[in-house]
Every structure is written in C-alpha cells, then in structure tokens.
Symmetry: D2
Subunit: 345 residues, 4 copies
C-alpha cells in the first residue's frame, strides 16, 4: 500500500511519519504540499534524517490514484473541504484530521469555526472515525472525518455513562487539560516557552470548537443530552490530554457496579484500558501510544461520578487514531503499526 | 518586632524567610527546630547565603517570650496542636500554617486527617485567617489558623456567588490544579522529576483534606450548601494553583451583572484582582506574589458560571497570607512586606 | 527621582517594573514607546494590574528632562544609538540594556552584529556597567552600557583568574547555558514550547554576539588573552544562566588557595557569593535576585580549573544590574531596591 | 528466543520492556527479581497494562537455561559481579547494563566506585558493547558490558578525532548535560521536581564514575591521551544527553575536511547520523530512538574543534544499545527491534 500525507511539516504529519514507519503494509509514503514544493522533509524535521528522504511535491489529482491509495489530510481548518472532494473523486481513500467534516450541521460549523462550511453532501459522505463506537461504518467508509483530540478523550470517557443512561442528562461538566502540541507548530504568544513554562492557563472559555463535536456525538447516543459545559486548559508539557469528567448519577450506584460497566463496555477494545479500583491514569502512562486509559469513581457524599480519561493527543487524539481508521477501512488488523508501548518515563 | 519560625527548612519556611526580609517591622528572625539543632540555615538553603546566618535552635517555652513576639508554625500535620498551646501560653502570637486547627469539628478532622484532633478549646481559640472575609476576628486573634492553599483559591472564588445566593447550592464542582511545591520538600515517587515532568496527574480523588475545610467555610456563609465535589491535580510546574469552579446559576444573569458583583465584593481588597470581561488569569500572573486573580463568566448555553481563581500556593496559599494575618494582628498596614510585583516571565 | 523606560513591553522592561516598584527613591515611572502609543501596560502585562496604570506614550526629547531624570533603554539592537544620544543631550542619564554601545571598536560591532555601529564618540562616552570591576567609572558616568547576560556571568567568573594571572592565557573555554527568557518575548520556532520543552539545544555556535564583549573586557585585564571559545546552549527553563568555565592553571595550585583568591576578590561585593569547598551553585539559587553565585575547583588529575558561575539573566544579567548602575550613578546605596531574596523553590 | 530481565522496575528495565515488545525474535520475556517476588509488573508500571502480565519471580540458576537464552541485568552497581557469573555459568548470555564490568583495572574501579571490584577473570571475559567501534568482539561475546550513557555520547563524538590523531592529546574537555532519567527511579532531593524544575545544576564535579570509562577507551585508541576533563550537568528534562566536546586541532583544518572525516567514520553506521554543515543536533531529535546525532565545527579564530553529540540516554545510552548488542551476539540484523523513529515533538 502507498499512502500520501498533506501537511507533513506539521505535528500531525510528523506523527504520521513516525507511526507509518512501523506499519508493515505501508510500502511507500508520498508527501504532498501546496506551498513548500521542493523542500526535503529532513530540512523541516532533522529527526527523520536517514529515515525519510522525500521531497515535498505538489498534488496532481489526475495522477493521484497512480501514486497512492490513501491520503491523510493533516492540514489546518479550511482546506480539506476542497481537497477531500478531489482526492475522493480521484479514487483514493481520504482520512481528514482537520475538523472540517466533523459537524453535520453546516450552521453549527459556521457558528463555531467562523468560516464557511464544507458542502453538505461531502459532510454526509464522511464517517466519524471513532472506532470504538463507530467501527461498522468505518469499515465501508471512503472518507473519514478523524475525531478531535478533546472529543476522543471525552467521548470514550462518557460513552458508558450516556449509553447506559446512568446520569442526569444536564449534569455533564468536562474540565480538560492539554499539552501544547495540540496548538500546532506555528509559534504564538500563548505557546512561547517563556510564557508557557511554569504556567497553567485556561483558554477559549465556553468557545472551543470541540464543544459542538462532543455534543453532536453524545446526542446521537442519547438525544436527551443538552448542551454541556467544557473548559480547556493548557498544561506546561508537550503531549497528553486529561479530561476530568463530572456527572450526577441518576440512581444508586456502587463503585464496583460502575467499574463493571466500564469494563464490559470496553472488554473487546484493544486501545481502551480501565484502571482497577482506586487507580487513575496519568497522561504519561499513554505517552507516545494509541491508548485511552480511564479511571472512574463514584462519590457517595455527593452522588457524583468522576471519570478520568487520558490520551496522547498526537496519537489517539490524531495520527494514531487516523491509522487505526486506515486499518479498519482496509481490512487490516486494527492495531497494525500501533503496537507501541507507551514511553515511560 | 521579633519573629520565630518553626519548620524553616521546609518550603513554607523558606518563603517566610524570603518575605520577612522585605518586612520593615521585623528586625529579627529566630529559627526553631525540634530535630535539626545546630544546623545553619545556609546548609539547608544555599540561596539565603550571606542574607541569613542563623543556626537552628531548640525551642524553650520558658524563655520564648524574651526572644520573639510571634511564632510561625510551618510544620507538618500533627505537631502544632501541642506547640501552639505552649507558644500561646508563653505569651506569643501563633500563626499556624498547618491544617491542625482549621476544622472546628474534631470528628471531621479525625475522619479526613486520620489522626487525633487538637483539643477542642485550642481549636475554638484559633481564628481562621482568610483576611478578605474574616478580618475583624483576625484583628483581635492570638492564634491564627492559616488557610490551606486550595481553600484560599476556592473560597475567594466562590464567596461572591455563595454570599449573594446566586447559585444552586448543590451544583458546586471545583477542579483544582497545583504545582508540586504544595507537596512539600520531602522527595517522593509522585514528585520525582522523571515521573512528574511531561505528566499531568489527578490525586487523592474525593479524599483531599481540604474538602471539609472548604465546606465548613461555605456553610458558614450559606448553611444550605451541601457537600461539594473537589478534585485536585498536579501540574508539571513548581508554583501556582488554579481552581476552575463550576456552578449552576439559580436566576437569569448577565455577564456584566456577574462581574459587577465580583468587583464590588473585592473593591477594597488589595490582594484580589478581578479580570476585565473576556480575560482570565494564568497562574504565572501571580507568581511570587500575594495576589489572588479571578476571572468569571456566565454561559447562556448552559446556565453555568465558571470562575477561574489563581494564586501562588506558597504565597497567598501559605506564607504570604500568614504575613498578611501577622500584619492585621499587629495593626500594621495589611500589605506591609507584601508589595512584591509578580515575577514575569 | 523619576525614571523612564523605553521598551516596557519586553522582558527587560517587565523586570524593571518589578524591581523599580521596590525602589524607595523612585517616585514615578514613565513608559515611552515608539510604536505602541496609547496602550495601557496592563493590556500587555496583566500581572501588573492594579500596580501600574501607565499608558505608553511617545517620547519628546524637548520636554524629556521635565518628565524624568534617567531613562532605561530596554530595546532591541539597533535603536539605542540614535536614542541614547538624544536622551543624553536632553540632560537625562541613559542606561542602555542593548548591546549597541558595548563594543569599543565599531568594526568589531559590525562584524558580529551585522549592522552599522553607533558613532564612535557616543561609544566612547558610554561606560561599561559591570560594577564589581568598573565602579569608579560608573560613579561619574552619564551613559551606561549595561553588560550582556553571558558576559556578566562569564566575566565575574573569570576575573580572579585573569587578574591574578593564574591560567594559561589561551586555555579559556566557556560552556554557557541559558533559560529562554534571554531570547526575548517575540515568539519564534526555536522557543516554541513544543520544540523547547524536553529539549536541550546548542545555538549560534562560534558566532554569539557576546563573544567579542567578553574578549574585549578580558583583554583589558590582561592583554595577553587571545580569542576564547564560547558556546551557548538553551535550557528548557525560563530564567537562569550557568557559565561553566574551563582553564588550565599555569602554576601549582591548591583548592584552598584558589578559593581564597575568589573570596578575597569579592569580599566587599554584596552581589557576588562564593560557595564553600565542595559546593557549587545551581541557577535556582539566584532566581529572581541580583546575585552572581560562584563555585570553583582545581583538578589535580588534569591541572584544570573549573569555575561555575550562575546568575538570573533577567536580573543580574539585565535589569537588576541596570538598577545597580543607576544606584551608583546617583549616589544611592548600591543595593537599594535590590535586596530581594532569591525565590526558592 | 526468550530473554530475562533483572531489574525490570527501574527505568532501564522499563525501556527494555518497551523495546523488546517491538522485537520480532523475542517471543518471551521473563522478569526476575531478588526482592519483589510476586509483584505484577503492572503494579509498578501501569503504562504496560494489558501488554505485559508478568509477575516478578526469583531467579534459580539451576533452571535458568530452561527458561531464557539471554539475561539483561538492569541493576544498580554492585550486584552484577555475582549474578553475571552465575548466569554465564548457567549457559545464558549476559548483557550487563550496570558499570560493574566496564573498567579493566580493579583498582580504578575501586577508586571511582568506592566499592569492591568484580573478579578480574569476569571483567576480562566481558566485552565492552560499543558496537560502532567494537563490533567484531561483540559478535562472539558471551558477556557484554554495556557502555554508560555519557561514555556512549562522548566516545562516539570523539572517536574520529582521536583515531585520526587530529587533536592535541591533552586538550579534551567534555561538558555533558543529561536529563534526570539517568539518575534512576529512586526519589532523591536532587531530582525532586520542586528542586529540579526551572533549575540547572552541575554535579559530581571531577568525580563522575564515567570519567575512567571514557579515558580507558580513548587510551585504547591512542595511548597518548592523558586524563580528560569531564563535567556533568542536570537539565530539567527527563530524557536526553548532549555532550559538548572541545579539543584543539593539532593541524590546519577546514570545516569541510573535518565533516568528511566524520561522515567517512560512520558511513556504514545505521545509528550514527552526522548533521550537514552549519547544523547541530538537539536532544529531542533522537528522543525515544537509538540514534546518536553528531554535529561538528572548526573555529579558525581559536583553532578549536567543537563536537556536539546527542543521544537518548535511556535508549542508545542504555537499553537500546543493549538490544543492539543482543542482536549482534545472536546474528540478527543489528537494528532489529530498534527501527523506531524519534518521537517529535
């Protein structure tokens, strides 16, 4: 199999390069660009020296199918609408890591993203690539809309509660924390080292683009779920997301019953790991891997459930999940190329 | 004035040394110890070389009053019950930075601290030293129970909501994040650099000792407030606490009305700063200072209020607030020795 | 006294604001700008909220003397040549934190800075503000060229060796490490958090602008000193410089004799602290303070001396030293406003 | 093939677990312990949950050969002398990651390690496992003494200079910087997060155990090389070593000639990468991988060469190099299981 990457000089692209190198069925990787034609990938990323020698090339849709079978779009918002269509029409699979095809209602997209939405038919063709809860659709998809990093951690953490109707529907609060790599590779004041180190920040309060993505999926599982509260924070670290999720139980619960539900929900899932009683995951415990680790507890004093869900935002929150989707679309064993043990310490 | 410190080799003690050096009314600092007699403070803390030359000395209650006027107890839990009594009986003021005298109900202390409580009469004599809401009592106190770091950030953030009865009483959730200095100077697995850097952790879920301290004070302000949900996290940084506080409004609110209430609540407070609309504080903006900075917003989509409250845990969350109390007890201008501008970056 | 700052929105400016707030003789601070007229300093730096309320204003040289007595130039390279002259001609003292007036030979400046040098008469009028070795000249100076951060740590570390002719003159190697604040506030790829955290970098190999500044001063002390080797590195931290300095002894030496020379060299210096035998400073031990801490050792196995010199690059390496010079120029006690204890941890 | 690990709960052990999981010829991993019998590895390392299920077991030398073919000793200094012998006598290969078998002269070991050396015949049987310069001996070895982290970065950086006699033999200075993982997993004051973050430290000045290891190997290459100067520093990061190496050229050199020598020296080496002119490696560019990246330059102003050599101390500086040796000993392709792309960012 041959794959193409658009946006290889960003962090999502760098991680695709790292992971695809371990993939036994990928024999060739082609790097496409719209603006950096002729640049050798080693000049952007010295860490791939002697491993990747490719030069970035412009994309020609007419010959694309002769070059690659699948294209990963690791691009900023706003470009994949056009490109996804052309790539799909050229006969290649599309896995879009941007948020452009995730929201089913164009009006919602335009409200939160503050830009024009992709055409409705394209949005409808795209399948939301959260394998643990959407695997059947992914198997036959041709265009994948790869989930956002926060939605991945949040939805995997909330699914057992929502699908089993264990909580008061209007009680969901997600306090999310992320490393800085989620902000991308472009330097900015907020991620300037001198401003970010020894600092903890909240940002985009009540306004993060991932809010409607989370709500849309929760409401598919239970249409009673109203708007949720979600606040993202920046941690002085590079990789990792923790979503601390709060909800009120709508029934008597025991700690053990709650954990049993989580374990059953994910018992066949290779990439979701439930911690034993009294244990909760830290972000470093999934560093560099495709795992989502979850701890859960019920507090009798307050009747509230707390769920702790961690991922590596660059892997399960982006490029790793993209490859997981790629495997499913192509009939490969789902963990192919993704068997990396978390790097610790 | 002459002051004594018990526990100068811990972080609370080091910060007292830093701040007291700027205090114009403190002419002498005596360092007491129960176990490190004869050690020069410079051997424990090279950063005070040429500034402090004291040798740690054992405490003799019979001569204490001849040596110092006030004693700061920066000791681990479990020792101040005995010492506070003796120091007070010797005729000196006591400012206790440990949690031993904070909980009014010994049974609650014993449940959460898992050790024997201090005698009830001693607890009753101690005044809770949160100046912004307890100044009158502090003025005439002889024993101060200095608030915990998380309670300081949380109570200052919640007070305007609770005192003005703006929220559903059972809706309070506090998601708190702290730098590692709050865990003290003793090395441990959880704060080992290789385990803590590039890592974000949740800890003591539903079990942190500061939960009953927060509840006790909220319930003084509004006895309808039930148990709250509070989850602490460790950030890979040394100093700083952010409490992200969630509560459901019990009435129609506007963003502006909400901010006005906060501004009025703290208009005469030198150490509480309310951010303007659309702005929220980061922990570094109070680094090394005695400020508590607060941002607040109301989300019409959900009816929820989010309060962001930050402090430097070692200053306003411990030693700075102790000196603020010291100033009030002694009739000094409240900010004496505490006029340090936050260090940035 | 009234002082002006040009460049208050940079890190050098922020640190001047922090330190001047502690200065008992400074009653007014005026903020000048060439490009951000009308901006309130709090919009750039929320951490000074309620402390500084100034609006940045344009500079008018004709009325300058009516407004301020001294002007600190915390500007990027290339602007102070013009401004220093005008400010001096307006009758105000000038303390220039940029490197524009440090190199006495314009040809050397042009080679290393790759821009036109300041006029020679202006350069000649400027006094190099390293108080420990240049105090007499500073006392009567009207224009101060404030030393660079690396030169401060390096020259204070090397002076006793060079002045006492203890080393082979061609054997000096300085391996220097700095936090990122030295790179300033403008975001860049090299100081982007995701690229800098968990990373250690070398930069500007053999080409750093501070090399000729160090050499010029060493050669004043001993004209036999030839070119030196100096390599700077970036540490994933914000503040702090360590210069590890290597040189070959030109005579038999004992550890004790070596330390005695250092202690004598600095015995009357408030801001230089020599560590006792077997102890060496870490950068955090001077964090936020104006100290330069030095450790020194002689290795009999190799005949080499190693000197470890640390400063806070924003304080002793920039704004703190600027205020130290300000004090000397104005006849104030040299440590006025600079008595801050290092912040630890 | 089946392999055993002694010391799996340390960082070297954790990294062996991570890397061996990618090794196609390793079908079974057995975890041995002398003190933690019965502990499940997941209790020590939650990050390997669902990947490794082993319980630590005590070692029985009589049955060892039935259980494993090779044993990795990732133990603290002082234990491998006894264990290596028994394991070898049981007929298994030994790869010792401790320093116990590295120094050929027991008197030197005892001076630097301050403990009794291993028996001389055992030391003589052990082969120093630096594949790039010792491959032939490794191929037929039964006991490998795996190099230290600093020696690996230093020796790979210095070899082309020393072997080609390009430098004045007494001019070598190595200024080395390491992340904290090299200090191991036991909490200590020096690696306590609050003491190490935002801090840069020098340690074990003139006394690091790796000094004689480096000298011994340099002197094998050129017996004229005298004692060297080597100073190690701790960087506030977890992984990564940079050795900045200084030496005086003993002849006229050009930048290009120098680089050519490095490129030729390592042209057939998969794990050593030489940067192009004007480029120097940062530690993150080898993060999590087995590469040693090297940059080199000659300064005409001073006649000095600077070599910048970086490794991931846990991989090429420990467990990765151990597996590289394992591959060579067993006739596998040398990079088997070690093809991981560095993780960036």
């Amino acid at each position: 199999m041959r794959v193409g990457i658009i946006g290889a000089t960003g962090y999502g692209g760098a991680e695709l390069l790292r992971l695809l190198h371990q993939h036994p069925h990928v024999e060739e990787v082609v790097l496409y660009t719209s603006s950096k034609e002729g640049m050798n990938i080693q000049d952007s990323y010295p860490h791939v020296s002697t491993i990747y020698h490719q030069t970035l090339q412009s994309i020609d849709h007419t010959s694309l199918k002769q070059e690659v079978d699948t294209v990963f779009l690791a691009t900023p918002p706003g470009v994949s609408a056009e490109w996804s269509r052309k790539i799909a029409e050229a006969g290649c699979q599309v896995i879009d890591l941007s948020g452009d095809l995730r929201l089913e209602d164009p009006a919602v997209y335009e409200k939160w993203y503050k830009r024009e939405a992709a055409p409705l038919d394209l949005i409808k063709e795209a399948v939301y690539g959260l394998p643990e809860w959407n695997r059947k659709e992914i198997e036959t998809a041709n265009i994948i809309s790869n989930p956002g990093c926060y939605p991945t951690a949040t939805l995997l953490g909330l699914a057992p509660l929502v699908k089993n109707k264990l909580i008061e529907t209007d009680s969901i609060i997600v306090d999310a924390k992320s490393g800085t790599s989620g902000a991308g590779r472009s330097p900015s004041a907020i991620t300037h080292f001198s401003e970010m180190n020894e600092n903890f920040k909240i940002y985009q309060i009540n306004q993060h683009k991932h809010i409607p993505e989370i709500e849309q999926n929760l409401q598919k599982w239970d249409k009673e779920i109203p708007n949720i509260t979600f606040q993202p924070h920046l941690v002085p670290m590079v990789r990792g997301i923790m979503a601390t999720i709060y909800a009120k139980a709508n029934q008597e619960l025991t700690e053990k019953a709650l954990r049993d539900i989580y374990e059953q929900s994910y018992e066949n899932e290779r990439f979701v790991r439930i911690r034993p009683e009294g244990a909760y995951p830290a972000t470093k415990e999934v560093y560099g891997s495709n795992y989502c680790d979850i701890g859960v507890t019920f507090d009798e004093r307050t009747g509230r459930i707390t769920v702790v869900s961690v991922i590596d935002n660059v892997v399960k929150g982006a490029s790793g999940q993209a490859i997981q989707n790629y495997n499913i679309m192509n009939g490969f064993e789902e963990s192919t190329g993704l068997t990396l043990v978390p790097m610790y310490p």
